[in-house]
Amino acid sequence: MKSYFIIALSFLLFSCLTEDSEEFKFTLPSHFPQPEYDFSKNKITKEGFELGRKLFYDGILSRDGSVSCGSCHIQSSAFTHHGHDVSHGIDDLLGDRNTPAVMNVAWSPTLFWDGGVHDLDLFAISPIENPVEMDDKLSNVLDKLRGHKDYPNLFKKAFGSSEITTDHFLKALSQFQLRLISANSRYDQFLLGDQNILNQEEKNGLKLFEKNCATCHAGVLFTDFSFRNNGIKHFGDLGRARITLQEEDEYKFKVPSLRNVAITAPFMHDGRFYSLEAVLNHYIDQITPSKNLDPLLKNKINLSESDKKSIISFLQTLTDKEFITNRQFSEQ
């Protein structure tokens, strides 16, 4: 008797979870690996996602209301701060690193150029409290939301309680960011079987890329998430060593994904290169030797002018129109 009841109950639960409207359907891309994020601790719901989106685009997360997450992570530029070498925050203050894309974060074992944060749910505290980004305190932001006319109700809809806790606040933001999945570029369609969607030059570029770049910019995510020194000239920023305090990690940065790279200039952790052409010139003949230079780059990469053009053509096939125009990801 009891077990029947449980079976009936689990059916009920199951049907609730899959009930979400067609437009909200949330599936992981079939050609991607298993995500790092543990979705069992934060079930994505329509209400949770929409709350997260509202928070992401709301300046209430900053000290004076002027800066939202969306001010620096702009959808049309694949959620980067297109055109800014280093981030540009509250009171026009500058940060020291380039804004990376908020994209496919469910697969990132660590966040930030130096991997300082290991859990997406704990991420948002950093921009909120960074004096040159949003310059507020998390506890104060929570108090502002508690006193707001809409938010308590929206939290109730999303999490069943109008009490705004640290946990629910951070998980709502995660729900929005987890859905920012870019997996539908022309290259993806090629991978999924449409052989003719890439032209010959792009296919040549792909071959050259696989030979010269894909050890680090690996797999469908275009990164192996390791920390490496790719031979750019280094100044003050110690990179990974800021987190580990180990000499062997000095000047190493996380290998960035190259999805949507054609629309996310400038490049590198400090935004020093303004074009893909400049990046390729770097790899071809500007590698700076140093003790932590990645062994893979110790030998010169030989690419002709036309090889260079092919690689750039290939990188352009990684632009995902749907990702940058999907209305569900935009400020409503």
């Binding site: 601790k41 074992p109 660590t110 930030f112 300082g116 944060v117 290991h118 859990d119 749910d121 704990l122 505290i125 950093s126 909120i128 409290e129 960074n130 305190k137 998390l138 506890s139 932001v141 929570l142 806790t165 640290t166 946990d167 606040f169 951070l170 998980k171 990974r240 800021r242 987190i243 580990t244 305090l245 180990q246 990690d249």
Partner: protein, 265 residues
């Protein structure tokens, strides 16, 4: 004969009193212990801001903030048995500007005679990497732990001491000469780095008894001057900003000596 009967009587009297005594300390009955952390500097109650102190390097300074985590409390009985306070109830932040935070009660302790109190200054690496839903109470990064957490390098700050000193360089934006010791580091999640988690063991001179209706009160003195003075005498002039860096290990080593179980009442 009479004498023997008397002896038996006395003996059994003793036995009864012994057995009633052990009965009284039935381990299945639970009691509590109150801990009080009293922050001192040079043997006097620590006063924030208005009092000037001098460290072992001869540098004058004030203290504007002195906060630290106490966690993972364990009590050891006379017979060696250890009572571990359930993890979820074992995190506290002692803040000098908040007297209520300096005293707390641990309940659910099996009755008995105890000799040792052990705890960590800081937060164990497990809790440093746990899901946000587990981070409640003292560990709530948007509540009690506001300011005791590094968001850019996920991890709790174990101890924070700040103040001003003429020995510190002038900060152009604040116009102040400040020093800041923010000590943390739980050893890293997937790459090794510094670990400043420290376990403290306090031993009572005489065992203390935890009983259902008698809560002992352990009065612990915390000498804040030990943060800078000890195995490494810290110079504010050179180490005014000690946060997540290799030197922080010396500060953490120093402050392991700052606790003293002074008395019970």
């Amino acid at each position: 004969m009479k004498k023997i009967v008397f002896q038996i009587l006395v003996l059994s009297g003793i036995m009864i009193s012994i057995s009633s005594c052990t009965k009284e300390l039935d381990e299945n009955i639970l009691g509590s212990l109150e801990l009080e952390f009293e922050n001192l500097y040079d043997g006097q109650r620590l006063v924030l801001n208005s009092q000037t102190y001098k460290n072992a390097m001869g540098e004058e300074h004030t203290v504007s903030q002195f906060d630290y985590f106490i966690s993972n409390i364990k009590l050891t009985k006379e017979n060696g048995e250890v009572f571990i306070v359930p993890q979820k109830e074992s995190y506290f932040i002692v803040k000098h500007n908040d007297p209520a935070s300096q005293k707390f009660t641990i309940s659910g302790i099996p009755q008995g005679k105890y000799t040792n109190i052990k705890y960590l200054i800081g937060v164990d690496s497990m809790r440093n990497t746990m899901d946000v839903s587990e981070r409640t109470g003292a560990l709530d990064v948007g509540g009690a732990a506001q300011g005791m957490y590094w968001s850019w390098n996920s991890g709790y700050i174990f101890l924070k001491m700040e103040g001003t000193s003429p020995a510190a360089p002038l900060n152009q934006t604040t116009g102040q000469r400040g020093f800041r010791f923010h000590i943390g580091g739980f050893g890293g999640l997937n790459s090794k780095t510094i670990n400043n988690i420290k376990e403290i063991t306090l031993t009572a001179e005489d065992p203390f008894t935890v009983k259902e209706n008698k809560t002992p009160h352990a009065h612990i003195f915390v000498d804040a001057s030990k943060v800078m003075n000890g195995k490494t005498n810290v110079s504010i002039a050179t180490n005014h900003t000690t946060m997540f860096n290799p030197f922080s290990v010396n500060v953490a080593d120093n402050y392991t000596a700052m606790f003293k179980l002074d008395h019970f009442h």
